[in-house]
């Protein structure tokens, strides 16, 4: 059993589980660096997931779905951008209400536009096609997981590198970090804090839209109410664990993706799914506790 336990399906599930969390966590990383606490990742993702299905249903093509997901994610995050970046409202309260608004709005539209409640699925709809990377795909065990995925999976890993380079090696990245760390100083040096915060929020919304796209069109073609199931919050946890540094954040996402796949695998071994479904949340909480305790030990007790 131990030999077959971590099989090719396990790693494929893990990569599928990582992708939406990673895309949302990258959005959270950018927000955190510019000094906004973005807890609306969950809601933006849910809106993206719904828009992807609605776009490809009414637009008739996969491209329409992709476009709809990105646009809807960015538009929805516009509410956060206006409230938090422009009007300087409390980002936590705005985030909570946006998450609840997303859940309510997508449920409402699911009922009015598609006439169903719960889940809408259309097997005739085309999901994101899997692309084969020659060579990689034929590796044993991890081959299909790494070399036979959709474009979004590859894009998400490319974005980790791009955002890491952007933040540390470009003048815009420097200004962005400056606004997050010392807004007054950055503004004195001529950076427009509002513009940066606004754009970062919108780009984050587009990334969350892509995360939602991966959920609804990535492997199956369906939307169900609250299908994000806390992934946006796990992404927030990943940003915390990785201290908003892209590579560390990505590593945290890998951990959560693996625990997701582990839950599914244990379910395959006959454990009840109500319990195994909790695996990613428990692993996330455990990781936060361990990281917190370690930090305390180095920094000494707080207050």
């Amino acid at each position: 059993m131990t030999f077959a336990f971590f099989n090719a399906t396990f790693f494929d599930q893990a990569v599928l589980g990582i992708t939406p969390i990673l895309l949302a966590a990258l959005a959270g990383t950018l927000s955190e660096r510019v000094g906004l606490f973005n807890i609306a990742l969950e809601g933006q993702m849910l809106v993206g997931a719904f828009a992807a299905i609605a776009g490809s249903h009414f637009g008739g093509t996969l491209q329409a779905g992709v476009l709809a997901a990105i646009t809807a994610g960015a538009l929805f995050s516009g509410l956060l951008a206006v409230g938090s970046a422009l009007l300087r409202g409390n980002d936590i309260v705005i985030g909570i209400s946006l998450n609840l608004l997303a859940a309510g709005l997508t449920s409402f539209l699911l009922r009015t536009l598609f006439g169903v409640s719960g889940t809408y699925s259309d097997s005739a709809m085309s999901g994101l096609p899997r692309l084969t990377v020659p060579g990689v795909a034929s590796l044993p065990l991890v081959g299909p997981a790494l070399g036979h995925q959709n474009a979004l999976v590859y894009l998400s890993w490319g974005l980790v590198a791009i955002i890491a380079v952007f933040l540390t090696r470009t003048p815009w990245g420097l200004r962005l970090r400056g606004i997050g760390e010392q807004p007054a100083a950055a503004v004195a040096l001529g950076a427009n804090a509002t513009v940066y915060r606004f754009l970062v929020t919108l780009i984050g919304g587009a990334l969350c839209g892509l995360a939602g796209l991966q959920l609804s069109l990535g492997s199956l073609t369906l939307f169900s109410e609250n299908m994000t199931a806390g992934r946006g919050w796990i992404a927030v946890a990943a940003v915390m664990l990785g201290r908003a540094r892209p590579l560390y954040v990505a590593a945290a996402c890998v951990l959560f993706g693996l625990s997701d796949a582990l839950g599914l695998r244990l379910q395959g071994e006959g454990l009840p799914n109500q319990l195994t479904d909790s695996a990613p949340y428990i692993v996330t909480l455990a990781a936060l506790v361990i990281a917190g305790l370690r930090q305390r030990r180095f920094a000494g007790p707080v207050s």
Partner: protein, 347 residues
């Protein structure tokens, strides 16, 4: 200062506080009217049905019955909010509390009245203990409550779902639920012929206690102090860690009590998902935010939202507008207020 000007000043403050709330309600209703128009429905018919469905005839008692758990969940959200703490895990505390109450009411070998009391106590205890877990995470490991409370809801709901599917499953029903609780261990009706049960009294006592503690005791004063300025509260000698724990225990106990009341007073069994489906914790969080955590205002907001939810059911039945629109309305009201910076200043 003359007496008259003093009275005027005392009146002016709440009225000034109500202006943004009223404008937010107008915006919320306006947006929902536009959504109704967009999907091809008449807003005037919709709002007519919504309001009649909330207060007309027997519907009024439906609203009262719905207000009981909603006021409870609102208080569970308002107590931490008062101190600037967010408990997003009320759903998990609610489910565990309801499940624990069902188990005690079904299996504890004790006289009826004792069993009922123990079941209510078990609900509160389990809810409080689960919330305390999140508080401990923040105090000892610095895991933010905002995150841990939310993430803890999933294992809680999963555990209850497992229990009623396997060890506690009543095989005679189609749903994953426990057996039916005996009549003697239930909360009785308060008003015969209406859905209002004795839980009304329990939540009423809790609400009065929370309002009293908030306004008249040092515990309430320290809570408000922290909500206004945490650093000042610390400097002033408030034991923040102990306060965090206390706030979460109180919040979790109330959420657990609501779960117990729903199980013992109206559902008479714990059914998977039945306690969280009406989304009382969602409405409760929004109602508490609407009032900025002030308990009396929160209770009033909760009753308003209970009326909206009840009206939503009637609206769905008569004009076939999905009642989830009332949830959209509630979120838009809070979103609008928060964007205007009317709820909490930036820290």
């Amino acid at each position: 200062m003359t007496v008259a000007s003093g009275v005027r000043a005392r009146l002016r403050r709440p009225i000034a506080a109500l202006v943004p709330v009223a404008s937010a309600l107008v915006v919320g209703f306006g947006v929902c009217g536009l959504i109704a128009l967009w999907v091809g429905l008449s807003p005037s018919v919709m709002f007519d049905q919504l309001i009649r469905g909330a207060v007309e005839g027997p519907q009024f008692f439906e609203t009262v019955a719905r207000a009981v758990p909603l006021v409870g969940m609102t208080l569970a959200a308002a107590i931490p909010l008062r101190a600037g703490i967010v408990n997003l895990g009320a759903d998990g505390q609610l489910a565990l509390g309801g499940c624990a109450a069902a188990i005690v009411a079904l299996y504890l070998p004790a006289p009826d009245g004792m069993r009922l009391a123990m079941a209510l106590g078990a609900g509160m205890f389990v809810g409080a203990a689960y919330a305390a877990l999140a508080a401990a995470g923040e105090i000892y490991a610095g895991v933010p409550l905002l995150l841990s409370t939310w993430l803890l809801t999933y294992p809680a709901k999963g555990l209850c779902g497992y229990l009623v599917r396997t060890p506690l499953r009543d095989p005679t029903t189609a749903w994953p639920s426990t057996a039916r609780i005996a009549v003697g261990a239930r909360l009785g009706h308060l008003l015969p012929g209406t859905p209002v049960n004795q839980g009304f009294l329990l939540i009423g006592v809790v609400a009065i206690a929370v309002i009293f503690i908030d306004r008249r005791t040092s515990v309430g004063f320290e809570l408000r102090l922290r909500g206004l300025n945490e650093r000042f509260a610390r400097y002033g000698g408030v034991a923040l860690h102990r306060q965090t724990l206390g706030v979460m225990v109180a919040s979790g106990a109330i959420a657990g009590l609501v779960g117990a009341i729903m199980v013992l007073g109206s559902q008479f069994r714990y059914t998977d998902g039945a306690l969280t489906a009406p989304q009382y914790s969602w409405s409760g969080t929004l109602a508490a935010l609407l009032a900025g955590g002030e308990p009396l205002g929160s209770v009033i907001a909760a009753v308003l939202f209970a009326a909206l939810q009840t009206g939503g059911f009637a609206m769905e039945r008569s004009v076939e507008i999905p009642r989830v629109l009332t949830m959209v309305l509630q979120s838009i009201v809070i979103l609008f207020l928060a964007m205007r910076g009317a709820i909490w200043k930036r820290s």
